[in-house]
Symmetry: C2
Subunit: 371 residues, 2 copies
């Protein structure tokens, strides 16, 4: 019903990394990151707080994360005789580290485990994560999504053993996120909170957290986009992303079904989810008005206005940092709405949605999202 | 900032015990319980769900839990060559099992560790708890309180390694709680949510959970007292207790300082905390009206009326099941208000209170609580 890693939170909290690793018995951690986090100084910041920069590092995680990168990370782990993993990065880095932690303890290659959670039979190598973006929620979820190759759809795996043992949320690491990444990641977190809250699974503790996350993100996302150095806004967004990551434990809904079928287009996942949300909310306002009233209240909007309010938010973010308002505006026009609708309707996330759209409703939504 | 065990929740969830133990590698668990839970059939219910009744059992936990009982439980653990512990019971059983899990892995006796968290240097034996009351919140907290002997004040110990690895909240186990225990335990949980929420420590995720708990308990406590077989109310109270246990991670306040100094009197801890709350809330309504407005809203009361509303709740519970309205009514009259006030003012929980009462204010509160 509820499973969280040990969470440390706050500016400067990276300083507890050494202590956290000692507590779980890790002496030789492999640091997994990517070139962006290395270039921005994020990895240096963590290593300085850790007090040791002569550590094994794997930084060849790409976007999206691939089977090959996970296999290579596990190879580095073995070569350096590591006994635990520290992930410093966004969702792709964390997802890579999660699957690498399975390979590290159980052997084999990514292809053996991706989408086959039942094959994960041993405890994974201890994993501590320090997110550098505020969006994916992967820092508090037992899920990972890895792509067989860069151009192919991701394969999701969800298993209790993929949960990090500890998460250190230091908003300092997010200060260098550019506005458009801040917006797309923040929208991802907001969709997690909203779809998680709407999911009818009986988990009222998570419902409270999800509503808190919606309120927090609605109040701080535009501030964080407008001024990346706004430390209060960065802290709130990091917390909102954490709340979003907890919320998706309840389930997701149509916006994520749609984001997934559009995932072969080169648009950030958060933006895809955000573009998919307004038409989905239109349906929800008709079919589950009670739960939607709570969402509207948390968003600071009148009841029945969540979908419109979300569209207005997207328009303001479009003005501010170029978040696209349609997929066509992002250059994506080659979709077959009927085929995409069928794929969305077949998604497992519909099982946790409070209303299951028909194929026709999905096709209407697809057409509106493409624009 | 946030650390929870794996939580399973719901009627029938005891059935996952076998799976949860296997997942953490426990093959020979020691079951710790007390005579009450054994007599009510609660232990049998768990063993039946577990699928094996030929297990080592230690059932000599008293009220309050003592050093001697913990030491004896650890002796049984060693004699039966156990490799993990399952606690089935209320706060006293769970607290006993927590300290026994330390002795089981590190050796020594309770006196070596009680109040000396820094001496807990090894991971404790894996502990899975199944609460049989809805009150203490010990099932999701890293604290334990053990008494050197039955007539002596408890010694609190708080350490990350005292956290259970998993908590299975099966409301079926609470159906046999008599009305007065339901009331005192439920009031304990309510004070945890209220004082945790009021504590100014910056943990908004827990704030959301605490407000959820206040709302839930306010809506279901009297129903659970009136009809112990009301499964919906039992489920809500068990969830509220869990939320209270999470809330106290933020800190407590004057009501718990007062409950502690009264703890040598033979009145349930939850009742002591509940009697201490109205005068404390009077102070809070003057000094932190903003936070108290949120508490009042969650209680379903007008702003500024939390203390009065709480008194009314106590009066109704007095009518229904004999919860005392003053300590004098419970036969406790031998206190020295000035000495009790000094002891309360010296309590560490004042450090996490949004307003620190003076000794004079504490003395006024003590006099009102004694009545």
């Amino acid at each position: 019903m509820l499973h969280l890693p040990l969470v440390h939170f706050g500016f400067g909290s990276a300083a507890v990394l050494r202590h956290v690793l000692a507590d779980v018995g890790v002496r030789q951690p492999l640091f997994i990151t990517d070139a962006g986090v290395r270039g921005s100084g994020g990895l240096d910041y963590v290593l300085k707080a850790f007090g040791d920069s002569r550590v094994p590092i794997f930084d060849a995680v790409g976007e999206p994360p691939t089977f090959a990168a996970v296999d290579a990370a596990a190879g580095t782990y073995r070569a350096a005789r590591c006994d635990g993993i520290v992930a410093v990065g966004g969702g792709s880095v964390i997802d890579t580290a999660k699957m690498a932690s399975v390979l590290a303890s159980q052997g084999g290659s990514t292809a053996d485990y991706a989408g086959a959670a039942e094959r994960i039979t041993k405890p994974a190598a201890p994993l501590v994560v320090l997110p550098s973006t505020s969006g994916s929620g992967s820092e508090v979820s037992p899920s990972t999504g890895i792509h067989p190759a860069a151009g192919e759809p991701g394969v999701r795996t969800r298993a209790p053993r993929l949960m990090p043992v500890a998460t250190i949320c230091d908003p300092e690491l997010t200060l260098t996120m550019p506005p458009r990444l801040t917006a797309s990641a923040g929208l991802d977190a907001l969709t997690h909170c909203i779809e998680g809250y709407l999911s009818p699974a009986g988990n009222p503790v998570v419902d409270s957290i999800a509503l808190g996350g919606i309120t927090r993100i609605a109040a701080h996302l535009e501030r964080a986009v407008a001024d990346g150095a706004d430390r209060q806004a960065r802290e709130a967004m990091m917390l909102g992303a954490l709340e979003g990551g907890i919320s998706i434990g309840k389930g997701l809904g149509p916006a994520h079904a749609l984001a997934t079928v559009f995932s072969h287009w080169p648009v950030a996942h958060g933006t895809l989810a955000a573009l998919s949300l307004p038409p989905s909310l239109d349906l929800m306002e008709r079919h589950v008005p009670g739960r939607m009233a709570a969402v509207a209240q948390a968003l600071g909007l009148p009841a029945g206005q969540s979908a419109n309010g979300f569209r207005s938010l997207l328009e303001r973010l479009h003005e501010r940092c170029g978040i696209p308002l349609t997929l066509r505006a992002a250059g994506c026009t080659d979709g077959d709405p009927a085929a995409l609708a069928r794929a969305a309707e077949a998604s497992a996330v519909n099982l946790t949605s409070p209303y299951r759209p028909s194929i026709q409703e999905y096709e209407d939504m697809v057409s509106r999202i493409i624009g």
